[in-house]
Chain length 302, copies 2
């Protein structure tokens, strides 16, 4: 009886060891950290859900920046010029110094966040009251995760977008305007660099779909593989609608659904032109996100 | 002919001088800066318009903070405890350092902004590329303008409001949560301290209404004088509606007005409970604004 039991235990042990070995091999192939099941953290649905919520925040940011006029003295060098973004402008100096403080307080411990300028990212863990570091899941492939289009985002924001969401004028609130700029930039950067997570999920779901094009360094095929025209059109349409809803004037005594003013034809009553929100996504956010996805995949097997 | 012309010039000069003297006396009595007509800058209508726009921003801020869970490690001292806001917590240290940067970049040159912590407010005008200082209108009475309820706002925000707009949990985004806290605090502070501008306009419009109660230091009468129950009820109702509109989930394929989901009965679908937004105004924002108005008036004739 005892011998039989020992034999059973031994067979179960062998089975368990074999299963563990198989699991380890699967984890090694898929590149995941064997200490945690990162595959369960991000799925294409959870990422789409997050991206949809980030849309709300991006529209809010645009509306918030639009509270102030352009305030060109915050952006120009002494040579002036509305479209000149001087590297020694108040706005850029403010962004640099604020990012440094945010880095010190741990912002970039979260792999979803990327700074616009390099900083010493050592957070303040040495301080007596600093909370213990949070264990963010390391889901991305280390080699590919350094993909970065921050410079493009910066140039589009200050070169194009800012002029489309603000009126001409100067109300002296330069710091407030620059703080709103930073919030917009960070929201756009997080959204666009989420392409790394989307690409990783897509790759893990079906590596064989992407591996030949990655080996051939075929950006065009990879762009086709990560493109879904139907999803893109839905996103662009939804962002426009969000700008209409969140940018409307809400009054108590207006008619309509639940007393909400909702005249979709009166574009000039919105705080940010809804067509600017859709243009932002159609021309910049979606193409840059796809560029991030493709660049990430190109480095996925490095 | 020439003599007659000189006499006429002399009479015109006398008339001009007399008119200037009268204007100076009027300006001195009303306490305005003679170099600009500050009376035309702020009116009760322009202030109401600004306060209404600030409501939108406050609701946005609440929704933005609600993206993150409570993240209690950002607030507690090492002794822990959810409702403990430690002065050496990550959140407070972050607010102090960020405010110092914002002060340096000129935030508090605008009399509408008040810091939560004292800073060296000397802005960076010495820097070669800093824009020339903006001439903000000095509309407030200098003695009364120092009225301040920042400590109350701080305690209400961290002691009550934060728990009402966040879910329990810890996602590690401590800096991001603290940055959202600061934006909420600043929006509430600006809104509540706008009571100083409202009180100044009311006083200038009808000094004789307030002077007896100011001389008698009669806070109760002053509170009655600055109270309009009908306006307060409209504001509370409107803020609730804004939380419904801005906190809803917008989809492309949902029915309703312009494809916007708008189920006012399904409270749990809003990003921030609309009743929390109305409670914020009914219990805290409106009473504190009136307190600021009364405190301001009590010092208006110092």
């Amino acid at each position: 009886m005892r011998m039989a039991s020992l034999r059973t235990d031994s067979r179960e042990l062998q089975l368990l060891l074999s299963l563990s070995l198989i699991l380890c091999i699967i984890c090694f192939i898929s590149g995941c950290d064997s200490s945690e099941s990162n595959n369960t953290i991000f799925t294409i649905d959870s990422l789409r859900d997050s991206l949809e919520k980030q849309e709300d925040f991006i529209v809010f940011c645009l509306i918030e920046r639009a509270r102030f006029p352009h305030n060109s003295p915050a952006y120009s060098s002494s040579s002036g010029g509305r479209r000149v973004m001087s590297s020694s402008s108040l706005a850029e100096l403010f962004v640099r110094e604020t990012e440094a403080i945010q880095a010190k307080f741990g912002r970039y411990q979260n792999p979803e966040e990327l700074p616009f300028f390099p900083h010493d990212h050592t957070p303040i863990q040495a301080a007596a009251e600093a909370p213990p570091p949070f264990k963010f899941p390391q889901f991305l492939d280390p080699a590919a995760s350094s993909v970065n289009v921050s410079r493009d985002i910066w140039n589009i924001y200050f070169g194009d977008l800012l002029q489309l969401i603000t009126t001409d004028g100067d109300d002296g609130n330069y710091q407030q305007a620059a703080a709103s700029d930073l919030v917009c930039l960070q929201a756009l950067s997080k959204r666009i660099h989420y392409g790394r997570f989307v690409a990783e999920v897509k790759f893990r779901d079906s590596p064989s779909t992407y591996i030949p094009a990655i080996h051939a360094k075929d950006s065009e095929t990879l762009t086709e593989l990560v493109t879904s025209k139907a999803v893109e059109e839905t996103v662009i349409e939804r962002v426009k609608k969000k700008a209409e809803v969140f940018g409307q004037t809400v009054t108590v005594d207006t008619g309509g659904v639940s007393g909400v003013a909702m005249d979709v034809n009166a574009t000039n009553t919105y705080k940010v032109d809804p067509s600017v929100a859709s243009k932002l996504y159609a021309e910049w956010v979606i193409p840059l996100t796809k560029q991030v996805e493709v660049d990430y995949l190109l480095h996925r097997l490095d």
